[in-house]
Symmetry: C2
Subunit: 199 residues, 2 copies
């Protein structure tokens, strides 16, 4: 275990991101990553199943975070839980990493397999949230709606935050997104369904 | 072209669904599907790129439907457009096909590759909707929020509708889902973010 330098994981991640950005995801090999990081392939495979998983290194941690929030949050008002959880996640896992996350986003966008993997990550997080609400006694429709809306708020807010450089914190963008969605829903006429029709 | 019987596509789809349900998706071959349908593999490949795409046969049509709604809807109230579009989609593509759609859902759920493909379909439809709202002049945050919420309403409502047998139409489940989401958002205290914290 002494050979396992504590910063190896992060050095491998940085080296991989650099190489993916420089020469593309497909052209980057694990030996190239380890050479750049000054580590062995053996060390690489201690930390990551393959080069793709480097881009999803935080998934297990975020999943654990979501599970903990769903289990321990002292409130029973679901949307309050969601907003508090997302703001906490924003501070602990996103704030201060904007350049890094922009780079990751560009790499994921460049490859169909990575995009599918990213959609899978989002679906998994919605599932954890849904299961948490079910365990708290919410009916399936409500649990699913809230879990999906949590995912939407996070996904849309992160995109907006990465697309802009106006100094807003991600947590504030989440609040804006929530307020926007609320306004859209409030403005909808109650008797809907007949309003729009193909001309 | 005379050999191309007009119902070939639907016969192949039915044969494939039956075989996927009987023996599993992985174990089903294209020759087995064509044998069951009484057609040639050549005919199969006129209609589908591979056996997986049989399960996504309606994607192009639904995409075209979504694009047309986004282009031609006479209203500028986005959520009204969404609800009207989803209700129309429910009537034209879902109502009356419950058993068929339940079977398809079970098959997709059984295979990780099919689940990823299904998530991709959903992401593609959200993208079409988002692009439509952008073309109508909505800012990126609002366009994304509305497109994602449209996907949520459809996805959650279809799941609820397939899970129940109480005679409700899918369009009515969509209305219930929308009303539920609206209530959740209305009930949220305005100064949020500090309410829930880990104990």
């Amino acid at each position: 275990m002494a050979r396992w330098r504590p910063d190896a994981r992060e050095r491998l991640r940085q080296a991989a991101l650099e190489l993916f950005a420089e020469q593309g995801f497909a052209a980057t090999t694990v030996p190239a990553i380890t050479a750049r990081a000054g580590l062995t392939t053996r060390t690489f495979f201690r930390h990551f199943a393959d080069k793709r998983e480097v881009l999803f290194a935080d998934e297990a941690e975020i999943r654990a975070f979501a599970t903990e929030i769903m289990t321990t949050a002292p409130t029973d008002e679901p949307l309050t839980m969601i907003v508090a959880g997302l703001r906490m996640l924003a501070e602990t896992h996103f704030e201060g990493r904007k350049d890094d996350l922009r780079q990751r986003r560009a790499i994921v966008a460049s490859d169909p397999g990575l995009r599918e993997r990213d959609q899978h990550k989002r679906a998994m997080l919605a599932q954890v949230t849904r299961d948490g609400f079910r365990a708290r006694g919410l009916d399936p429709l409500r649990a699913s709606l809230l879990a999906e809306t949590a995912g939407t708020l996070m996904y849309v807010s992160v995109a907006e935050w990465l697309d802009t450089d106006d100094g807003r914190r991600l947590g504030d963008v989440i609040d804006t997104a929530l307020a926007t969605l609320r306004t859209e829903l409030e403005d909808l006429p109650t008797s809907n369904g007949q309003v729009a029709s193909k001309g």
